[in-house]
Symmetry: C2
Subunit: 331 residues, 2 copies
C-alpha cells in the first residue's frame, strides 16, 4: 500500500491522513494499521493524566521540549516524540480547542515532534479504539516516545492512561485535600506523581500528603495482585514538583521517566504491561465488532419499536434485550 510505505518513510502528510482515516473509522485505515502492525512495539508510551486545571497541556509541552533537547547515551539523536491529546470535544469550541492549536504552533517546525488532538465525539469504546490505533500508527512511524494526554480524572481517562507503559499523574496544590485524589481513582495508577504549579502555596503539604497516601497504599493495598504485601514493591512511585510555566523540575521528571522505563525492562514488567495493553485493545475491538454485527442484524425499525415498548413500560429492558437478541440469532 502506498500510504503504508509513505508513513514508514516518514511522510508527515501521509501520517496525518492515516490518523484521520483511523479517527473516522475508515476500513482502509484499519487495513493500513494491520499492515503497519509488525513495525509497532518500539515506542515508550507515556500517559499523562489528571483533573482539569492541573496544567497538563503546559506540562506535556515542556516535557516534549525537554525530551527533544536530550540525547541518550549510545544514541545519535534525541527521541522523536508523538503527542496524542484526548480531549472531550465541545460544541462550544466547534471541535479542536484553541489551546491545542496554540500548542501545535509552539511545537511546529520541529520535524521530530508530531501532535494530534483527538475529538471524543464517538462512544467510549470508540475513543479507546481510535486512540489505540493512532498510538500504533505513531509507533510504526518511528516515534520513540508517545505521550497520551487525557483530560479529566474519570474512568474512561483512567482506562486510556492504563494502556501506557508509564503513567504520570498530575495534581496541583490547589486541588483540595488528598481524599479528592483518591476519589478521582487515579492515585493508584500512577507510576510517577507530579505536583504541578509547585510555586503555589501548599505545594509542600500536597507532596507530603501524597507521600503519606502512597505509604498507606503500600501497606493496605491488596488489589494490585502482583505485589506481595510483605515485600516492598520494586518501583517506588516518586512524588515530584514541577512549575511547567517556568520549566522547573523537568530534569527530575525526565530522569524518573527514564528510570521507570529501565525498571520496566529489567523487571519484566514491560512485557506484562505490553500484554495488558494488547488485551485491552483486543477487548475494545471485539466490543465494537459485536455491536456492529448486532445492529446490522436488526430489521429496520425493530430497535425503535422495542424501545417504544420499554418507554411505555410494556416491556422491561431485560425482556427487550432478549427480544432483540432473538432477532440476531434468527439471522
Amino acid at each position: 500500500m502506498r500510504l503504508v510505505e509513505s508513513v514508514l518513510a516518514g511522510d508527515r502528510l501521509a501520517l496525518a491522513r492515516l490518523l484521520s482515516m483511523i479517527e473516522n473509522q475508515e476500513e482502509d485505515g484499519f487495513k493500513a494499521l494491520a499492515a503497519l502492525y509488525p513495525r509497532t512495539g518500539q515506542a515508550h508510551i507515556i500517559g499523562v493524566t489528571g483533573a482539569p486545571g492541573t496544567g497538563k497541556s503546559t506540562l506535556v509541552n515542556r516535557l516534549v521540549k525537554r525530551l527533544r533537547s536530550f540525547t541518550a547515551a549510545g544514541e545519535k539523536d534525541p527521541s522523536k516524540v508523538g503527542v496524542v491529546a484526548v480531549d472531550p470535544s465541545s460544541p462550544f469550541s466547534g471541535g479542536a480547542i484553541l489551546g491545542d492549536r496554540i500548542r501545535m504552533r509552539d511545537l511546529a517546525g520541529d520535524p521530530g515532534v508530531f501532535v494530534r488532538s483527538m475529538a471524543s465525539r464517538g462512544a467510549l469504546g470508540g475513543l479507546a479504539n481510535t486512540t489505540g490505533g493512532v498510538v500504533q500508527a505513531l509507533d510504526a512511524a518511528g516515534f520513540d516516545v508517545i505521550l497520551i494526554e487525557t483530560v479529566g480524572a474519570g474512568q474512561a481517562e483512567v482506562d486510556i492512561a492504563r494502556t501506557a507503559h508509564t503513567t504520570v499523574v498530575v495534581t496541583t496544590p490547589g486541588m483540595g485535600d488528598e481524599v479528592q485524589a483518591i476519589k478521582a481513582g487515579i492515585l493508584e495508577i500512577a507510576d510517577i506523581l507530579v505536583v504541578n504549579k509547585a510555586d503555589l502555596p501548599g505545594a509542600e503539604n500536597a507532596m507530603r500528603g501524597l507521600q503519606v497516601m502512597l505509604e498507606m497504599g503500600r501497606h493496605t493495598n491488596s488489589n494490585l495482585g502482583e505485589q506481595n504485601l510483605d515485600v516492598e514493591p520494586a518501583w517506588r512511585v516518586p512524588v515530584l514538583a514541577t512549575v511547567s510555566t517556568e520549566g522547573q523540575g523537568f530534569d527530575t521528571l525526565l530522569d524518573s521517566i527514564i528510570q521507570h522505563r529501565d525498571y520496566l525492562h529489567n523487571s519484566g514488567e514491560w512485557d506484562v504491561r505490553e500484554r495488558e495493553r494488547q488485551r485491552a485493545a483486543l477487548d475494545a475491538l471485539i466490543h465494537e465488532r459485536l455491536r456492529k454485527r448486532f445492529l446490522e442484524s436488526q430489521p429496520y425499525g425493530k430497535f425503535e419499536e422495542v424501545l417504544q415498548k420499554v418507554v411505555a413500560r410494556e416491556l422491561s429492558p431485560w425482556q427487550a434485550v432478549g427480544e432483540l437478541l432473538k432477532e440476531e440469532d434468527a439471522e
Copy 2:
C-alpha cells in the same frame, strides 16, 4: 416474588438487599427489577457532576436536607429522596470511602432518605448498567427525587449524568479558568450551573465567565440538534452561587430544579429525555449481553492463544478479532 413485594411495601432492608444483588449482577436481582419495572418512571432523576474538589458531596447532602424540609403545593409530605453516589473505588480505601460513611450517618434516621454508594470495580458498561438498575429500584420503591452524584469530569461520568432528567454541574472559583470547564466537556450537558464555594475569592468572575461561555454556546452551538440556531432555547441555563458548608444558595437551587422539572414537562422535553435514558440503558444492556455470549462461545484458552500471537506481532489485532469471531459463528 417476596423481595419485590417487600421493596414495594417500603422495606428498607429488602431494598438494600435488592441493590446489592443488582450491584453483584445476580440473576435474581435482574428478575426482581423486571418485575418492578412497570412501577418505575415516576421519579425526577437529577445528576450532580463536576470535577473532584468542587464539594459535590457536601452540596448533595445540603440539597437532600433542603428537599426534605420542603412540601410542594398540593402535596402532603416532602419528597422522598434517594441518593446514588458513583465513586471510583480505590484500593487505598478498601471499598467505600470514609466521606460517604460520614454522609450516611448525617442523613441516617430520616426514613424519607436512602443513600447508596456504588463501587466502580467493574467495567464501564457494567457501572452504567448497575447504576441504571439501582435508580430503577429506588424509583419503583417510591423515591420521588433521585440524585445521582458522579465524581470526576470524565466521559463515563458525563454519560451517567446524561441519563438524568436534570443535570447540575458543579464548579468552584478555584478550578482555573473557564477553558478548563469546556475541556472537561461538562458545560454543555448542564441544565443548571452551580459555582460552589462561592465565598472564595473569584466567585463573581467565575460566574461571569460561565455566563459568557453560555452566551457563546447559545450562538455557536450547532451540535444540540433539537435547537434551531436562530431561536432562543426555551431553557436558559442559570448560573447559581452556593456555599454548601453554610447552606447558602439552596433556596435558589431548589427553585431552579423545580422550574427545570416543570419546563421538561411543559415542553415535552421530559418524554424526549426519558426515551434517551431508556435508549442508553438498552444499549448498555445489549453491550453486556453480547460480550457475555461471546466469551462463552470461546473454547478454553483460545483468547489467550490469540492474544499471545498479537503480542508477538504475528497477528494484527484486526486479524485476531476476525479469528475470534469465527469461533463464535461456528458455535
